[in-house]
Symmetry: C2
């Protein structure tokens, strides 16, 4: 087993701290906040220290996206698993799904702050694998919300469809100048949930009949 | 009734030609193609003539968006009404809905060429009313596709949902680096159609029962 010298250990700790800080800044304040100086200060290190660990802005941003996805999926899972099991209305479930997708916190500025940077990361060939890797864990958290709310967990394709509808709902509400982006998207997502749920009822009735 | 002098008539004709050319350029080549010079040349006028009619680039672009929406909705309606009435599969209908939404022509570069500029126009306070005004006519064309394919025309909310799913499907396929953006989106839209159609069957069965 490889052992690390105290110097190496300190260096690894600093790198961890910088990564975590970069992820938090990306989630809380958006891509512009991910600067060498901002990340170092947020990590409690000297302002110049980040440039020692990340060769260029792309490296720093890639680390931020990776950490942000880890923080997001961990928060999504924790939020989903904190729910007790009880029947919930389509509107309640829709809102929970939005909150879990954009864990740890979501507000009406979610489109510019998080959705657009995440879509941009997906489009970026270097960052795409990071985004794809966190997807299964996110879908699992959404499935947990559904099963704990008395809904059958849909298949992987429908879970993916749900995420697309969440994003489309948020984006359209925002593009239309709505001041209640999350409320508006909730209605759209609730409609899809109702349609998916209806299919379950039909299946059950056909099995029973 | 006001009459126009020959000079005024020529001036109005030129303005119409410039507007139509701006719309075509926007649809065929995207926002960057909408320049004073490009629009004038495309309209068959002298390169400097557009600056006489549009005070600044924003005026020119607003005229392009307005003309493009007119051309798009006219083409959408014409395409929908060219269809004969016959049963079509969910996949066939989904593809037609995508083609009609992005009439007069759609290809795998639709996200950067048309979807993103159209979302940006929606977000722009000056252009938003133009985008909103063309929406009902577009939804009507989509309803025509559905009824001519043996599907019940869904309510306005579900038609709006369909357009959101079309856009989400295109955007996700593109963000994931797919080379078959329209094929991928077709599957997503077909799934929603199946869910909406299922609801119709359930309603019919309940009425019959």
């Amino acid at each position: 087993m490889a052992t690390r010298s105290p110097r190496q250990a300190r260096s690894a700790d600093k790198l961890d701290a910088l990564r975590a800080a970069a992820g938090r800044l990306l989630i809380d304040q958006g891509p512009e906040a991910v600067t060498y100086r901002g990340v170092a200060v947020a990590a409690g290190l000297s302002p110049g220290s980040a440039s020692y660990y990340f060769e260029n802005r792309d490296e720093l941003y890639a680390a931020a996206v990776e950490a942000a996805e880890e923080q997001r999926t961990a928060a999504a899972q924790a939020r989903a698993e904190s729910l007790d099991t009880q029947p919930r209305t389509a509107d309640e479930v829709a809102r929970l799904l939005i909150e879990v997708t954009y864990a740890p916190h979501v507000a009406d500025d979610v489109v510019t702050l998080r959705l657009e940077p995440m879509l941009a990361a997906q489009r970026n060939e270097r960052l795409r694998p990071t985004m794809a890797a966190s997807r299964p864990r996110l879908l699992e958290a959404l499935a947990t919300v559904l099963t704990r709310s008395g809904h059958r967990s849909p298949g992987a394709d429908d879970l993916d469809l749900l995420v697309q509808v969440i994003d489309a709902g948020l984006m359209y509400a925002w593009a239309r100048g709505s001041e209640h982006v999350i409320d508006d998207a909730t209605k759209t997502v609730a409609r899809i949930l109702t349609l998916i749920d209806q299919e379950r009822q039909v299946d059950q009735e056909r099995q029973a009949g």
